[in-house]
């Protein structure tokens, strides 16, 4: 049974390789928001399925966006 379930699992793929229109840029926080958790952590490629090249760029852009307060470092306290 376990084997059969594994067969039907949705295949992960890199969103940036699949869609050329998705621009990876710190000025576009709307795209970056899909790749961070509710608490503001960067989602690892093993979960999001991003390829290693794009994950590297993504990390860099997220960190830039955090610097100019487009994306939170952490979730708001209180």
């Amino acid at each position: 049974m376990g084997r059969r379930n594994r067969r039907y699992r949705k295949r992960k793929y890199c969103a940036f390789c699949a869609n050329d229109n998705l621009t990876l840029d710190y000025k576009n926080p709307r795209v970056l928001k899909d790749f961070i958790t509710d608490r503001g952590k960067i989602i690892p490629s093993r979960i999001s399925g991003t390829c290693s090249t794009h994950q590297r760029f993504l990390t860099r852009e997220i960190k830039k966006a955090r610097m100019v307060a487009l994306i939170p470092f952490t979730a708001k306290s209180k």
Partner: protein, 183 residues
């Protein structure tokens, strides 16, 4: 003795930078004009150029900076030599209205003659209301757009899934058949 040349740079080439600054939300259009004017004068003095100037308008900050929860974003593209940016950042630190700034080098082998400047200091309008934001505006409309995007992606995913599932089902059939014969 001042350094006149960076040995990393090719002769005759200049660097292109992206520069973002966040101003306090209570800045008036006159304040913005003064800040940009000062920056422009400094860059002119250093033989640099402002290629592009954009106002992103007043936006909500993702976290508080110096007790401000909102800020006015200004975006510039600057062309200049290596010694320009320290001067610009020094100026930013001196202006109290600036709460955050960031410089990013885009390219370091730009031919200065090939780039024309879209920016003209005389036509500068500090008005934030007229800011051309379209893509970057954070608002409740944003959610709608996101949903639209998601649905588009989903449709793509669905189509791919279908094709995947078809191939998979074919594969399972072929796999199952020999098992049956064995039983």
């Amino acid at each position: 003795m001042p350094i006149t040349k960076s040995y990393r740079d090719e002769i005759g080439k200049e660097r292109e930078y992206e520069f973002i600054m966040i101003l306090k939300p209570d800045c008036t259009s006159a304040d913005i004009k003064i800040i940009v004017q000062r920056m422009h004068d400094l860059i002119e003095r250093k033989n640099g150029k402002i290629l592009k100037f954009e106002k992103w308008g007043k936006r909500k900050l993702a976290y508080e900076i110096k007790r401000n929860s909102e800020g006015i974003y200004l975006y510039l593209r600057i062309l200049g030599l290596f010694d320009l940016i320290p001067e610009v950042e020094k100026l930013m630190r001196m202006i109290e209205k600036v709460i955050r700034y960031m410089t990013i080098k885009i390219d370091d082998t730009v031919d200065p003659d090939a780039r024309s400047s879209e920016f003209d200091i005389e036509t500068l309008d500090g008005n934030i209301e007229e800011a051309d934001v379209d893509e970057l505006e954070i608002s409740e409309e944003d959610g709608e757009v996101v949903i639209k995007e998601v649905t588009e992606e989903e449709t793509e995913e669905d189509s791919e899934e279908k094709s995947d599932s078809e191939t998979k089902s074919d594969a399972t059939e072929t796999e199952e058949k020999p098992e049956d014969t064995k039983e």
